[in-house]
């Protein structure tokens, strides 16, 4: 099974030192005035379909430059519709959408600065992977012989399969080719809808690494997912959408710190767990990778935890407020439903 992405591509020193290639299409050149403009700014966005379904309801969202922003929600929450509106595929019923300060309409030139994968990446099945990339790149007004195509081919890392018809590709191969296509022209903003759907665990890990590297390169990434563990590992910020409405938005730390969970790193995990289990006010103690996750009663004084551990002669490396995103997310959803 070939690797999902060749990570050397992103870590290649040339990639980091080479100035960003000219932005594709006639996209507006970022000026001093637009450098501080958020890459994505959505205000009062509403989408009501003809059948009466309100997919998005008064959504406000702001994604700042360099963030890896997760859009969370259950299936049907309005994530994909929001992303489609951002890409000019769907017209909003009301509200405004700005990308890099420019209003988005179907075919807006600012979309040249956005790479995207929405739903499953679509290709012309009877063309090869390479022909698909070239055809796409030329259709969007670019030179089919440009270096961007070669970079995308390396990125897709499909080896010999790049010259095979796409109809013979597995889902994972299509997904890789789709991500490579989204990165054509090195766009500063990436919009990815469920980017790891259909990938095997190894490929999922590689996509995560790729997203981190792209983020380190300064790209802004907006991705939707209902895989909370994935978002927790990749994203710096997130917004929770439910029934088309924004439930919460902020950094992951903001979204998860309000709970009664703490994460500890100590020098003797087993001894610490024994001590904590016998401490009044601690309701649950679990080992999580190299640390301990514990739930405490809401009224319990947090100072008690280090006090009992120190008394037991256990060294403490870190104590962090911790609530898993899943708990935070489900808590918000349940609260809303109630």
């Amino acid at each position: 099974m070939p690797q999902i992405v060749r990570l050397e591509y992103s870590t290649d020193s040339n990639m980091e030192t080479t100035p960003e290639p000219h932005l594709p299409f006639s996209s507006p050149t970022p000026s001093a005035a637009t450098l501080h403009v958020p890459p994505v700014h959505v205000r009062g966005l509403t989408k009501k379909f003809r059948n009466g379904v309100v997919a998005v309801n008064g959504l406000d969202l702001k994604v700042e430059a360099g963030q890896v922003f997760g859009l969370l929600g259950l299936n049907g929450a309005g994530k994909t519709t929001t992303l489609r509106i951002l890409l000019g595929l769907v017209r909003p019923s009301s509200g405004t959408v700005h990308i890099f300060g420019h209003p988005v309409t179907p075919g807006s030139s600012v979309l040249g600065r956005v790479g995207s994968v929405v739903d499953t990446p679509g290709f012309v099945p009877h063309l090869t992977g390479l022909q698909n990339l070239r055809t796409y790149w030329e259709a969007v007004g670019q030179d089919r012989r440009s270096q961007a195509i070669d970079d995308a081919v390396k990125m897709a890392n499909l080896e010999g399969a790049i010259d095979r018809e796409v109809r013979s590709y597995s889902f994972g191969m299509r997904q890789r080719l789709g991500i490579a296509r989204a990165l054509l022209g090195n766009p500063p903003l990436l919009i990815l809808d469920e980017p790891t759907t259909g990938l095997d665990p190894k490929q999922v890990r590689e996509v995560r690494s790729l997203i981190r590297i792209l983020s380190q390169q300064g790209k802004t990434i907006l991705l939707s997912s209902h895989l909370l563990g994935e978002v927790e590992q990749i994203c710096s910020h997130a917004a929770v959408i439910h029934h088309g409405k924004l439930m919460a938005s902020g950094s992951l730390a903001d979204l998860t710190k309000a709970g009664t969970a703490l994460y500890l790193e100590v020098d003797n995990i087993s001894a610490a767990m024994t001590v904590l289990r016998s401490t009044v006010g601690v309701t649950d103690v679990r080992q999580e990778s190299d640390g301990i996750l514990l739930e405490v009663a809401e009224r319990m004084e947090r100072e008690t935890i280090p006090r009992v551990l120190v008394a037991a002669n256990i060294g403490i490396r870190a104590i962090l407020p911790r609530r898993r995103l899943e708990d935070a997310f489900l808590g918000m959803i349940e609260e809303q439903d109630v």
Binding site: H22, P24, F25, S26, S27, F49, R84, L87, G88, L89, V90, R91, P106, G107, S108, S109, V110, L111, G112, V114, S116, V118, D119, T120, P121, G122, F123, V124, P125, H126, L127, Q131, T135, Y136, E138, A139, V140, G141, Q142, D143, R181
Partner: protein
């Protein structure tokens, strides 16, 4: 004039508009030897020509300079938008052809269209000349198909236009949008700065080209098969009039082009449905359905003159080219009848597609 001056100020150094005030054509009478009103009139005319030229070159640049070229180097004034219509539309058409030509359905359809004339020719070669007690009518070339090889392309056009060519045209234009929607490629394209109008235009032009090729294939392979089987003789029409080979080829060309145009309403309707539905079968079937409904209504004499507005009523009107003298009126009316259908269907297709939510 404001636009012209703006153009001159902001234009490229090579912009002709920058030098137009100094243009004095060769042979022009020196200013001193001309009366003042005449000189002013001539200068005004020259300015108008210069202004027109400036606007034309500006428009040409707006529509032809690729958008990848920086504005400063393009010669396009800053206050005018850059759309680069021609090169970007040409790119879309080129990529559309690249997508459509290797498709099995394209080749199979064209091969089938080439096969039908051979099939008809073989049938006539085996069965001999048709015998009928019905009076001969102009255009019923199936009755005289064996008299000359040149009759065969006319007979095949006659036989295929009402259904097979309708299917081909509906297929090529009905699949224009739906197939790409089905692949998910449309979504990827439209999430970039690609004009929906241009995309629709490129798809329509490619569909029209393939449809025209289908008509040409029928006529050309009918001619080849007919000449091989029945020889290169002057044509005797069903009504007994003889035409030379040269005259027949000319009329065959006109008949082929007319047949292409007579299918325009069917094709544009398929294109319209293609923008509305995501179902390829639905879009293709809609064109065929329109032709069938039109044929059924055309067969009801009670409708009288109302039938002349049906899209297929004048489909075989080219047969009257082979009267002596030729009667062009039905073809002219048939050409005119197609026009409103095409305008309405294509306008609706454009209106819908440019406003459509891309959900699949």
């Amino acid at each position: 004039m404001t636009r012209q001056s703006g153009s001159s100020q902001n234009g490229h150094p090579d912009d002709p508009s920058r030098t137009t005030p100094k243009v004095v054509p060769r042979g022009c009478t020196p200013a001193g030897s001309m009366s003042q009103p005449v000189r002013q009139r001539k200068l005004a005319t020259l300015r108008k020509i210069a202004s027109g030229w400036s606007r034309m070159t500006t428009l040409w640049r707006i529509y032809t300079v690729p958008s990848s070229i920086p504005r400063a180097a393009s010669g396009v004034p800053a206050h005018l938008s850059r759309r680069a219509f021609l090169p970007e539309t040409a790119s879309l058409i080129r990529t559309e052809i690249e997508k459509q030509l290797p498709r099995p359905r394209t080749w199979l359809t064209l091969v089938f269209m080439a096969f039908i004339p051979f099939l008809i020719t073989v049938a006539f070669a085996l069965g001999g000349t048709a015998h009928t007690s019905q009076p001969s009518i102009a255009g019923d070339f199936l009755l005289v198909a064996t008299r000359s090889g040149l009759d065969m392309p006319l007979a095949t056009l006659d036989a295929t236009a009402p259904f097979l060519l309708v299917v081909a045209v509906s297929l090529f234009l009905g699949e224009a949008i739906t197939s790409e929607t089905g692949w998910g490629f449309l979504r990827a394209l439209l999430s970039k700065p690609v004009s929906r109008s241009r995309l629709l235009l490129s798809k329509a032009l490619t569909g029209i080209a393939l449809s025209a090729i289908a008509c040409l294939v029928v006529a050309l392979f009918g001619l080849i098969a007919g000449v091989v089987a029945f020889g290169w003789h002057p044509v005797v029409t069903p009504s007994g009039i003889t035409f030379s080979q040269g005259a027949t080829l000319l009329k065959l060309s006109v008949a082929t082009v007319y047949t292409m145009w007579s299918l325009a309403s069917i094709g544009s309707f398929s294109l319209l449905v293609s923008t509305v539905t995501d179902s390829t079968i639905g879009a293709v079937a809609s064109g065929i359905g329109l032709a069938i409904v039109s044929e059924i209504l055309d067969g009801i004499p009670a409708l009288g003159q109302l039938r002349v507005v049906l899209p297929t009523h004048y489909m075989l009107a080219w047969g009257e080219l082979f009267l002596q003298p030729a009667n062009y009126n039905p073809m002219l009316i048939g050409t005119g009848v197609q026009l409103p259908y095409v305008i309405v269907f294509c306008t609706l297709a454009w209106w819908w597609f440019t406003r459509k939510d891309i959900l699949s």
